[in-house]
Amino acid sequence: MTNQIAMYFGHSIPENPRHKEIEDRAIEWGCTINFAILEDFDWTFTHIHKVHQDSEIFNMLFQIVTLKSVQAPQVEVKYGKDNSSEVPTFLFANSHIIEKSTNKKIPITHEILDQIGSEIENIYGYVYIGSKILNHGENWVFTKSTALP
C-alpha cells in the first residue's frame, strides 16, 4: 500500500493571461469564477496535457526540480463533485518518483512538491495552496479543516 499525494490550487492570478479568459468564460456561461477555474484546470490538464494517459508534463516538472531523469507517479485531475472540495486538485497515485537510470525510488518530499506547485503557478496561473502526503485511505477532498504542512 502506498501513500497518495494531493496537490491543491486556488484562484487564478490576475496578471496571468488565463485570468481574463476565465473571467470571460464565467460571464459567457453565467457561472461562478470558481466553477470556470475548475473547468479551465480540468481542460488544461486532462485535454491539453492528457495527464490521465501519461504523466509527461509531470515527468518534465519532476525532472527540472530534482535535476534527474525520473518517472512521475500517475496523476489524476480531481475536484469535489459533491461540492465538499472546490479547489483544483491533482492526486498522485503514490509518493515516490523513479530514477530512470537506476530504477531507484526517490521519495517525494514537501520541498519537491512546493517547487512543482510554484512551477505550475508560474506557468498556468493558478495559485498554489499546498500539498498533502495522505495517510493510507485518507480522503483527498480539500475542506476548510484540511491542514496543510
Binding site: 493571461p17 481542460w43 491539453i48 534527474k68 531523469s69
Partner: protein
C-alpha cells in the same frame, strides 16, 4: 604532440561552439491547445499568430525565473533552462545553460517563436564555459522544450 590537422579540427570545433544557437519552433503540438488559443484570439480581438507567440513568450519568461534547487545535498540557484540542460545533458554535476532569449522568425509569411542561446557551451559553477552543446544534445533539449512548451520543435542553426 597535436598534429596540424587535429589542431585545425579543434579550432574549427571551437569556432562552431562560439556561435549562437537558434532553436526554431512551430505550431502547438496538440489540437486542443491550438483550439484554446484560437478562442483566446477571438475573445481578445487579436490575431492567432500574436496569441501563439504570446503564449510561448509567457512560458519562456517563467522559465527564466531562478529558483533554489537541491542537487546532491547542495543548493543551486537555477532557471528552468538550466534545469533542462542538466537533465538532458546528463552531466556529472551541475552545469548552467547559456543565456537564452525569446525571438521570432518568419517562414512562408507566418511568424513563429524561437529561442536564442548565446553560444554552444554549458557553464560550470564558476560560470566558465565548459561543456559543449553537441548537435545531438541540442536536439535532445529541443525535444524536451517541445514537451514543456507544447510547441513543435522544428530544428536549430548555429549562427555567427
Amino acid at each position: 604532440m597535436i598534429s596540424v590537422s587535429m589542431r585545425n579540427e579543434l579550432s574549427h570545433a571551437n569556432e562552431t561552439l562560439t556561435k549562437r544557437i537558434e532553436m526554431y519552433f512551430g505550431s502547438p503540438t496538440s489540437n486542443e491547445l491550438l483550439e484554446k488559443l484560437e478562442k483566446r484570439a477571438i475573445e481578445w480581438n487579436s490575431s492567432v499568430e500574436a496569441i501563439l507567440l504570446g503564449e510561448f513568450e509567457h512560458i519562456c519568461n517563467s522559465m527564466q525565473k531562478k529558483r533554489v534547487l537541491k542537487y546532491e545535498e547542495k543548493d543551486y540557484n537555477m532557471s528552468g533552462f538550466d534545469s533542462h540542460c542538466v537533465v538532458h545533458a546528463d552531466t556529472e554535476g551541475v552545469f548552467f545553460s547559456p543565456p537564452v532569449q525569446f525571438g521570432k522568425y518568419t517562414h512562408n509569411g507566418s511568424t513563429y517563436p524561437k529561442l536564442i542561446l548565446k553560444d554552444g557551451y554549458l557553464r560550470n559553477q564558476s560560470k566558465k564555459k565548459e561543456f559543449p552543446l553537441t548537435d545531438l544534445l541540442i536536439d535532445k533539449i529541443g525535444i524536451g522544450y517541445e514537451q514543456y512548451f507544447n510547441f513543435e520543435f522544428i530544428g536549430f542553426k548555429r549562427l555567427p
